[in-house]
Symmetry: C2
Subunit: 221 residues, 2 copies
Amino acid sequence: MSARSTENDAIRVAVSTVIFSLRAAPDGDRLMLPLVRRTRDPHRGVWALPGGWLDADEDLDVAASRTLAETTALTPSYLEQLYTFGDVDRSPTRVVSIVYWALLRSDLVDTQRSTAGAPENVEWFDVDALPALAFDHRRIAEYALDRLRNKVGYSRIAAGLLPDEFTLTELREVYEAVLGRRLDPSNFRRLLEGTDELVPTESFRTGKHRPARLYRRGREA
Amino acid sequence: MSARSTENDAIRVAVSTVIFSLRAAPDGDRLMLPLVRRTRDPHRGVWALPGGWLDADEDLDVAASRTLAETTALTPSYLEQLYTFGDVDRSPTRVVSIVYWALLRSDLVDTQRSTAGAPENVEWFDVDALPALAFDHRRIAEYALDRLRNKVGYSRIAAGLLPDEFTLTELREVYEAVLGRRLDPSNFRRLLEGTDELVPTESFRTGKHRPARLYRRGREA
DNA sequence: TCAAAAGTGTTGGGGATACACCCATGT
DNA sequence: ACATGGGTGTATCCCCAACACTTTTGA
């Protein structure tokens, strides 16, 4: 066992992040994720998940945030470890990738891009229409999407995709975009009103019709 | 980003496994896990989870099985990745630990120990009475226990702790040991009879009272 | 014939869905 | 006034926990 620790030098540790956000599309908001076009081999010119090498002196989640910021200029609203991919043949050299999944509030997407000098090689893609991806990144992206769809069911994570204040209809539309199906407005309201995940405010959103009460996220997860 | 890849040499990748099994105790079967007494610094003489260094040419799950076998002579009946722990300060040197959790059929525990020349530094502990553990291994063990208890709820994983054939009462006792509470025998039966997780056989276990039908696991997960 | 475990049947509460309905506002 | 989305009330279904009950065996 001790002899093997020397072979360890041949293993490199990377961190990648699958970060989701809602972006406007012709048929309403769609769930999307940013990809980075690779500028070097292997897979030069192919789309890949944002990420980079783990530093020797930084925690894993810090590395996820840093490499995400370096490649896309984005800062996640929610971040959680997803899975570690380490098959021998997933890359020409041995790379173990610790993958995170994240959410980005929809109001911060364009803000961050403009302030931080939007990287040229970044583009957002509909989760249902991803291009060809480098390495095993398609499998990783789909795994992350599964996790999001499952996790959104029993937790109230979805509010992480919205600004600080939002109406119940907006939140319901997030669920509908994530889950890919319609939800009953009245049942949706009851489901969330009872919990402490949501805190009602005294403000209302005025629009074309009856004003809707604004809510905030409750206790942060 | 590219410059950082050289610093990567300072990071070592380890694989550890939290493996559960049922073992006889004065008050019935208890959920237990094996620990290994460390024979070198840091934490020499302290109990730790079985594990070892990842080889450059082996997949992660293979490494988990290999290091588990090397340290405890055990072969898991079920194995699944748990989480990757990589805080900078979790060890004096930088170690990223990819942790697996596993189940071992109760009929194989002692068989494996006797055939493979039971390692001296291995001992089984009740999950509710763990000794002091090296590094952050207590946190890891408790995280694995959480995962087991949650996962057993919506899947039928628990059968992985039993021999090939078992009665419903035996399976229920596994659930009770894992979850730490009593379950209604009749409801338990109905819950599992409907699924394809269990396949009834034509054999019966004869004992002190009315014979009970034996079951096998259904489609492997 | 009795104790104990195997196995069946019945009931009721809670959560989720479906949907009828009223409310408030801009046009 | 009316269209539209905001918001409330309620019937129904289904899952599942509780528990009474019958069956089968060993002693």
